[in-house]
């Protein structure tokens, strides 16, 4: 797997279009899911995936061959999502429950009422978290990133990552329990 990614990066650095296409195909779903979780907005998440890949393409010839490709792309998504999140703070958001109206290409998620309700509650709670806590909770619980990996991705210490996670999770518990009591 790692060797495949290394060779993909090598070929991409030469401007190989097939390698670029393969990288997109390989990671697009995970990255879109991450972007949706970070932004709670399918349309914006798609924009983030698009912009992240365009920026990634600009690294052709200079992409470091040593690092982990998925981590690199994840960092691109997190950074873009953070910028979008800050820029939209004054704008109204479009949630996943409205996704069908704004994003016809999305084939999921499963449209069960239970899932939608759970997702709505969780998303609502997530929006209450500061960006830096939300990113870590999502990276750890959705993308299975370790605190060490997250620390590297976000350029912070592992202890900082852990404590932000703890605070974020605590706040989510409080918010979600309050939501459930309603």
């Amino acid at each position: 797997m790692m060797l495949e990614d290394t060779l993909l990066k090598l070929r991409f650095n030469r401007g190989d279009r097939d390698a670029l296409r393969r990288i997109y195909e390989k990671y697009k779903d995970d990255l879109l899911r991450l972007a949706i979780a970070l932004l709670n907005d399918v349309s914006l998440a798609e924009d983030v995936v698009n912009d992240a890949f365009v920026n990634f393409t600009r690294s052709v010839g200079n992409l470091s061959l040593r690092g982990n490709l998925k981590s690199f792309l994840t960092t691109c998504i997190v950074n873009h999502a953070r910028n979008v999140s800050r820029a939209r703070q004054r704008r109204s958001t479009v949630g996943l429950d409205q996704a069908g109206q704004v994003q016809s290409g999305l084939k999921g998620p499963e449209q069960s009422a239970v899932f939608n309700e759970q997702y709505r509650q969780l998303s609502a709670a997530m929006t209450e978290l500061p960006d830096e806590q939300r990113e870590i909770v999502i990276l750890h619980l959705q993308s299975d990133a370790t605190f060490r990996q997250i620390a590297k991705l976000l350029n912070i210490s592992a202890n900082t990552a852990k404590s932000r996670y703890r605070y974020g999770l605590g706040k989510l518990r409080t918010l979600m329990n309050g939501e459930l009591r309603k």
Binding site: K9, L10, G15, D16, D29, G61, S104
Partner: protein, 396 residues
């Protein structure tokens, strides 16, 4: 309040397991269109910038040396298998000193012009101590009787022992030269021409040129003693010259010891010379194009090309950004696959035409050979597929 672990599980259930998302066709089309457009723009603006800019440095790490060991192991077998054929009577007086020599010292020059590579051999009976100009800091000791080879990396204080047993054509090295001459002489199209005296570095020599069996051998000999000082050998795949030949020179027997010197660690060669397969060779070609040659097949794949590519091999590994483990794995796979042509078992010669061919170009044949007992040929194309091809349809 639900415990923290429950909250974590709940978030995982919703985000990781429940949120099944696949990008739609519209998004795929949009992203791929945008990234390809971006790539086009970048190529137009600065095509040179796409080339990785790390050719300047040469890897000096311990791992690179370990990886390069595969190249060294292949490279240092040069001259051991080139002169095949049955043992027979020596050809004329000029060959006799070669055959009767107890010891010999000579330089084997591979290639021509500015891209020469020199192997310096000291020979005592069936044993050889060898240095190779492009393989710095390494001595190789070969015992053809024991059928073993020992490489000594003096910088890394490491010894690698390689078994040669079971390989065809491993015989006394001096006999190889003799056999070559005999093979030419016995071929139906054999011809020999005495070209008379010629001068090299102010000294005069008698020159014989023999042709036959698609090969040419030229011998420069002392006109007084008939002792050869230079032998030049051309085959379709290689040009080798033996120069500075001296016979019955005093040599220290200790220099031919197969014992690992004190203070040297041992390394696994990782390559089995008896294990030879077409599929392994295809993998070698893939690694050569993908990692060593930056997307194109090399100009040549003969042993002299291998010997000259040492630094390039290291640079390719570095450029690929492979981990230590991957470098060694890739190098070993490359070396193992190369055994296929190094100790070629097909009929006649193999043919290579990969120069300038981009990896993936399925229209261009890059290598073809005829397996033993086969009426058809195997042809490898630029996309590395292999097909059986009738002789009449072979590439020209």
């Amino acid at each position: 309040m639900r415990p923290a672990r429950d909250t974590e599980r709940h978030i995982r259930n919703v985000y990781a397991d429940g949120l099944k998302v696949t990008t739609g066709a519209d998004l795929d089309k949009r992203v791929l269109s945008n990234v390809m457009e971006t790539l086009d723009e970048l190529e137009k603006k600065e095509s040179a910038a796409i080339e990785p800019n790390i050719w300047r440095s040469i890897m000096r790490s311990r791992v690179a040396k370990l990886a390069a060991a595969a190249v060294i192991i292949i490279a240092v077998t040069l001259g051991m298998f080139e002169f095949l054929g049955p043992s027979s009577i020596a050809w004329a007086d000029v060959v006799e000193p070669l055959l009767n020599a107890r010891t010999a010292v000579l330089d084997i020059v591979v290639g021509s012009g500015g891209s020469q590579m020199v192997i310096h051999d000291e020979m005592m009976g069936s044993r050889i101590r060898r240095t190779v100009s492009n393989v710095v800091g390494t001595d190789i000791i070969i015992d053809l009787e024991q059928q073993k080879m020992l490489t000594l990396d003096h910088d890394g204080k490491a010894a690698t022992s390689i078994e040669l047993a079971g390989l065809d054509g491993v015989e006394n090295y001096l006999q190889k030269l003799q056999n070559l001459v005999v093979r030419l002489q016995e071929s139906p199209d054999f011809s020999v021409e005495n070209q008379g005296p010629q001068e090299i570095d102010g000294a005069e020599y008698i020159v014989f040129v023999a042709n036959g069996d698609s090969q040419t051998i030229t011998i420069w000999a002392d006109p007084e003693t008939a002792v050869p000082v230079r032998v030049e050998h051309r085959t379709p795949n290689m040009q080798i010259a033996c120069e500075n030949m001296q016979f019955d020179v005093e040599l220290d027997e200790a220099r031919f010891s197969m014992e690992v010197p004190e203070g040297y660690g041992t390394r696994d060669a990782g390559i089995d010379f008896k294990d030879s397969s077409e599929s392994g060779f295809v993998e070698t070609l893939r690694i050569w194009a993908e990692i060593i040659e930056d997307g194109h097949f090399p100009d040549g794949i003969a042993l002299e090309d291998v010997v000259k590519m040492g630094p390039q091999f290291e640079q390719g590994m570095k450029r690929a950004g492979l981990t230590e483990e991957q470098q060694i794995e890739v190098a070993t796979r490359w070396g193992q696959g190369y055994v296929f042509i190094r100790f070629f078992k097909g009929q006649g010669e193999w043919h290579y035409a990969g120069q300038g061919v981009k990896q993936g170009d399925g229209t261009k044949p890059i290598f073809w050979y005829q397996p033993q007992d086969s009426e058809t040929w195997r042809v490898i194309y630029g996309d590395l597929r292999v097909e059986d091809v009738a002789e009449a349809n072979l590439p020209q």
